[in-house]
């Protein structure tokens, strides 16, 4: 399997052409609203809107599917945890005296015996999953649509120190390389007779731990090589460097940012004033 390119989507769209600062504003506003809203229905709509935006700007289904596959175990864990254990907080949110059980674990089961999975807890779990998905989808939406060089320039214009801005863009470049290395090392493990799918969790963890040795060594080696290359290209981290690209807020940026600010203000007002977006069990 080839790993999805995590770094960039190249389709030219209204959103991808926006300045990185406008995208950062989008990231911040949507994240805040997603964090505030506990209503699973609204959270779901917001998540779907961001998913639609991702597809619209050209984030590949392969990447989205990959992300969803990776996150699925965590989401199931979230759902179960909230369904089983999030009782006090959900009771406070709903104002009910009792939660509605949808499944009761037989009393004979160790540890969990007698506990119920509640409908309200599950709904809250769904809401948390939607929040998480929204955050996760904002990353490809805002970052992958930005040329790393524009990203650096945008961050520098926001007075982020150049070295830090460069580290952010270099990290995006480094991730696929590390994933590629992990995949190659896992393949070589299989070729030495280690079938992870047939192993128990302890043995599997041992093999993963062993795998980390060549991955870490390779990552360190490549990081050192890249630093040598960068130094050879006169990189010193000096913030006074010049840029081929320039970062500028154009009319579409101002219009989009203004509209977004109004929507954000309305969301804040409606949440705090009339409870729009509160949890409904």
């Amino acid at each position: 399997m080839m790993l999805p390119e995590l770094q960039r989507v190249t389709r030219s769209t209204f959103f991808s052409r926006l300045d990185f600062r406008t995208k950062l504003m989008t990231f911040a506003y949507v994240s805040i609203v997603a964090a505030l809203w506990d209503n699973p229905l609204l959270g779901g709509v917001l998540m779907l809107a961001i998913l639609g935006a991702c597809l619209g700007v050209g984030v590949s289904l392969t990447y989205l599917g990959f992300m969803f596959r990776v996150m699925t175990p965590f989401f199931l864990l979230l759902l179960l945890t909230h369904g089983l254990f999030n009782v006090e907080y959900v009771l406070r949110l709903t104002g009910h005296a009792h939660l509605t059980p949808v499944l009761t674990i037989p009393a004979s089961w160790p540890l969990l015996g007698g506990r119920s999975v509640s409908r309200e807890g599950l709904l809250y779990g769904v809401n948390v999953i939607f929040k998480s998905m929204t955050f996760l989808l904002l990353i490809p939406l805002c970052v992958f649509t930005t040329d790393p060089n524009h990203l650096v320039v945008g961050l520098v214009r926001l007075r982020v120190p150049y070295k830090l801005a460069f580290v952010v863009s270099a990290t995006l470049r480094f991730f696929p390389m590390i994933f590629g290395e992990i995949q190659a090392v896992m393949e070589t493990q299989r070729l030495r007779g280690f079938a992870l799918e047939d192993m128990g969790p302890v043995q599997r963890v041992r093999v993963y731990a062993k795998t980390s040795v060549p991955v870490i060594l390779s990552a360190l080696f490549k990081a050192q090589q890249i630093e040598v290359v960068m130094r050879s290209k006169a990189f010193s981290g000096d913030p006074d460097r010049t840029y081929l690209e320039h970062s500028a807020m154009h009319a579409p940026d101002w219009i989009f940012a203004s509209a977004l600010t109004v929507a954000f203000g309305a969301a804040l007002w409606s949440y705090f004033a009339v409870g729009f977006g509160s949890f409904v069990g």
Partner: protein, 569 residues
């Protein structure tokens, strides 16, 4: 500043010695060298002889980045490379490194070229002008907006050259710029280096193992051995001095090797040619070569079921890349097969199907007539051993012995059998003396042998070597190929993926030539090496010996210097 250079020298090294941190052995020892302006200087030597260290000392990376103990003095454009910061030296010295993957920093071709210029604080308008000029100089003007990773290996190296060129440095240093490229891309890079030197008058230093290309590119050759300058002189003189090369563990260009054999037989007088064109001219003074085409021995019994088979296998990657196109091929027990082809020809994808790491989009993969997918992971590991291009991916234990025995842990073999296999593998690979050493404390060649030993304990019938000679010097490459020969003689089926054609005659019997995801040719190695039309299709080129043989006589199918020399009466 203030150091007065000889008028024509761009760089000098005076009594330079250097020891890396944590090392006891000097990487450079009392090196004196003067690099005059306008010359192309080649640096040659076996792995570990100090070539890269010397290159890195020219822009201050050694010792400023690595630390360690540095003695003597290096000056470039009058600047002391210890006193001046690296970013200041970068204005005078452009660097091109070995690995296209790690030397690309940014996400587009034009910003890659601009990166150093931005660091040098040039105005945006000046950067644009220089980027355009540099991309034109390396013939990449049409791809300015592309992502560098979408370029071929050769194009990526040309991009790295453009990045160096854009700085307009007085000196450009190339450290093994073609070791990871297929022959055509390597030729592109060397031809570009010659063009840059001619057009811009740039001074060039190249460290490389590619004897044939170096001989036709450099004016002067510096031979390093154990950190010391073992010889320094005109390239023709040094490549023509075989005893000197032998002492320095280097090989001459194939054309020189062939003519030295002719000289030994009294057929060649005067200096030995070191370039192909000179060799072809020198042929005219020789008696007519005899036809040479030995009978091809059958490599397998057609009545016996092949051990591995691909039946009309196609494979498409997730991003739509069609990597294999209806490929059918059989590998027979006892074969020694090489798979040739440019980078991206589909060689690795094909091998991954044999190893069941990829499932075909269509078609079937068989091992002993059964679908390979029906075998478990341990079963495949016991049948097929895979030696990756980068041996370090296989190493994760604290001693050579535990590394070699690691795969046996998940088997239910009796302990005595496990011990016997480990001892035998260590002995076969001459690793017994290193058994308690950490694998990473060994040289790259030794690490590769540890990986082979770790695979041999599984006693696989088939061994697949993925680009085993890449990044190795000539002696290291030959040592690995000799090992494949010994294993073949012990009955193993050997498959080698390579684009280093020159090294394989004398080892392989059969060649699969791949291009564009298809098998372009499946033939005895002699026929494949002489089929220049097919090789051309996959960006390979005939070896110097094949070119000489065909120039000598079209019916001459020699593959090695010995065969060629032997065909002159």
């Amino acid at each position: 500043m203030g150091h007065i250079l000889p008028r024509s020298a761009i760089a000098t090294l005076e009594r330079v010695s250097y020891v890396y941190p944590g090392s006891e052995r000097p990487a450079l020892l009392n090196v004196d060298l003067e690099i005059p302006r306008g010359q192309i200087i080649g640096i040659v030597g076996p792995t570990g002889s100090g070539k890269t260290t010397l290159c890195l000392s020219l822009n201050g990376i050694v010792p400023q980045f690595y630390g360690g103990r540095f003695f003597g003095r290096v000056t470039v454009a009058g600047l002391d490379t210890v006193d001046r910061p690296i970013h200041e030296l970068a204005r005078h010295v452009g660097m091109v490194f070995q690995d296209p993957e790690t030397q690309i920093i940014t996400a587009s071709v034009e910003t890659e070229v601009a990166f150093a210029l931005e660091n040098l604080k040039l105005p945006a308008a000046e950067i644009r002008t220089r980027v355009k000029a540099a991309l034109e100089a390396v013939h990449l003007e049409g791809v300015a907006k592309k992502h560098p990773h979408s370029l071929s290996g050769g194009q990526q190296q040309r991009l790295a050259i453009a990045s160096a060129l854009a700085i307009r440095p007085e000196l450009i240093v190339f450290d093994e710029p073609t070791s990871q490229l297929d022959p055509r891309s390597a030729e592109e890079v060397f031809s570009l280096i010659r063009e840059i030197s001619r057009s811009f008058g740039a001074t060039v230093v190249i460290a490389s193992h590619a004897a044939e290309e170096m001989a036709s590119t450099v004016d002067r050759l510096v031979v390093l051995r154990e950190g010391k300058v073992a010889a320094d002189g005109p390239a023709d003189g040094i490549y023509g001095n075989l005893p000197l090369l032998e002492r320095a563990q280097l090989r001459p260009p194939d054309v020189t090797a062939a003519f030295s054999l002719l000289a030994a037989r009294g057929l060649q007088t005067g200096p030995l040619p070191t370039r192909l064109a000179d060799g072809i001219r020198a042929l005219e003074l020789l008696p007519k070569a005899q036809p040479f085409r030995p009978e091809v021995e059958p490599t397998f019994d057609p009545g016996i079921l092949p051990i591995l088979s691909l039946r009309k296998v196609s494979y498409t990657y997730w991003d739509g890349t069609r990597a294999l196109e209806a490929v059918s091929v059989d590998i027979h027990r006892g074969d020694y097969t090489i798979i040739l082809g440019q980078n991206g020809a589909g060689k690795s994808t094909l091998i991954k199907h044999f190893l069941n790491l990829l499932a075909p989009s269509s078609g079937e993969v068989l091992m002993d007539g059964k679908p390979v997918s029906s075998y478990s992971v341990p079963e495949i590991a016991h049948r097929i051993g895979y030696v990756p291009q980068n041996p370090d991916r296989h190493l994760f234990n604290a001693t050579v012995e535990t590394e070699v025995s690691f795969s046996l842990r998940v088997t239910d073999l009796p302990q005595e059998e496990k011990t016997r296999r480990v001892e035998e593998a260590l002995a076969t690979l001459d690793l017994t003396r290193y058994r308690l050493k950490h694998p990473f404390a060994l040289s790259k060649g030794d690490r590769a042998r540890v990986v082979v030993a770790a695979i041999l304990v599984m006693e696989p019938e088939i061994l697949i070597f993925d680009e085993p000679t890449t990044g190795q010097d000539d002696w290291g490459a030959r040592a690995i190929l000799e090992l494949t020969k010994r294993l073949h003689a012990r009955g193993k089926t050997i498959i080698v993926i390579t684009h280093h054609l020159g090294l394989m005659p004398g080892f392989a019997r059969r060649a699969l030539v791949m291009g564009g995801g298809r098998i372009l040719l499946d033939a005895p190695i002699r026929d494949a090496y002489h089929d220049d039309a097919i090789l051309e299709k996959t960006f390979l080129k005939v070896t110097q010996i094949v070119a000489l043989a065909r120039a000598a006589r079209p019916e001459n199918y020699a593959l090695t210097p010995t065969e060629l020399a032997g065909s002159f009466l």
